[in-house]
Symmetry: C2
Subunit: 226 residues, 2 copies
């Protein structure tokens, strides 16, 4: 099971390290960082480098592809071309944050529901995708995640689909992915939150934890996928 983690200059490092940490300790997973050129690739902060051990030309039939997002980096056309080449034979093609804009640029999201970082939804739609406001969006073999940290959720969803919930739960426990009562501040440009505000809900409503008041346990797929 070859899992190709794509890199390009200006990528956002947590986008790709979240999935790496979820996927890398599973037996049989062959993880490879792949980029236009092998060697060090610098992230959007300019302070962190990851090492690509293979070029796009050397990875011709990955089973899984993960594409991270960026912060207004110049588009790497070599990654777009590689996605067009390898997507037809992948088992799963995935993205985190604005990585979905790469998928869209490669024609993979034409008319397909997908998500991205909340700042770039219009760009995603201009490239043919249907923006869907969920933390993780699954459509066939294509899984897209919202911004940055949601790559962890995407990869747990992927493990669930590949091996069932026990595998995903084991990794979730190993990495202690159990933030309690996270609440998200409201931002005028954040869709959805903004919509709720327009509907007359208060700021306190909007940042209230989303767990149901009844405390009912949701089923596993819902926990991982949304």
């Amino acid at each position: 099971m070859q899992i190709a983690l794509a890199l390009y200059p200006g990528f956002t490092v947590l986008d790709i390290i979240g999935p790496l940490q979820v996927l890398a300790d599973v037996p049989g997973h062959d993880i490879v960082f792949v980029a236009g050129d092998a060697g060090r690739v610098t992230d959007h902060t300019g302070r962190c480098q990851l090492v690509a051990s293979a070029t796009f030309a050397e990875v011709t039939a990955p089973d899984v592809v993960v594409v991270p997002g960026e912060l207004f980096a110049e588009r790497d056309d070599r990654l777009v071309r590689w996605l067009r080449q390898v997507h037809p034979t992948t088992t799963w093609t995935t993205s985190v944050s604005t990585g979905s804009i790469y998928l869209a640029a490669a024609g993979i999201l034409d008319g397909v529901d997908a998500t991205t970082h909340w700042t770039r939804t219009e760009e995603l739609e201009r490239l043919g995708a249907r923006y869907t406001e969920q933390r993780v969006v699954e459509r066939g073999k294509v899984i897209t995640a919202a911004g940055v940290s949601s790559g962890i959720d995407m990869a747990l969803t992927l493990l669930d689909r590949m091996y069932g919930p026990a595998a995903a739960q084991t990794v979730q426990l190993a990495i202690e992915y159990d933030p309690s009562r996270p609440s998200m501040p409201v931002h005028p440009r954040r869709p959805g939150r903004d919509r709720r505000a327009r509907d007359g809900r208060t700021r306190a409503d909007a940042v209230r934890p989303r767990a149901s008041a009844s405390g009912d346990l949701v089923d596993r797929s819902d926990v991982l996928a949304h």
Copy 2:
């Protein structure tokens, strides 16, 4: 504001990239990856390398130190010695996951409340700390986080303490750290969960989301710190 992110062979990469992503885009933060030797340092999966741009000897007065954990790697005594040297003059000394075991080995946690990955609590206590089951534990200038992904929470807590809640909320929104209804599977060795099970609560109780049934909004420090 120099923020030193410590590396050593066998470190767990999400432990350090979570804090990096939270801290690196803040203006005025000088981020430096530091290790016993400059150059590439390989993580516990063997598949990921980060690049240390400075040696411990070259970073003598960091304002903030972050120490990541590992998965049963041999202890790097150079990191222990460096922590003894720099801790007296740091503004904040922090750890993620079993990184607290490095802090304890350096004598920083003698009789101090601290947390670590749930698999290594006894080792932390043998080294003099008082294990405290919280996602983030703050005691003076020392902040320790539980396993792996909780480094994101630790760094958001740190931003809150350094600049106030607006800074922390801005970054939280930027990285979309908003997992909804995460629930943690029960594990026999996980303290706390285990304790609840012994008290006669059901498995469904134990994995129920922790948000209060009333849906009351908790204050910001609670959201970030626990």
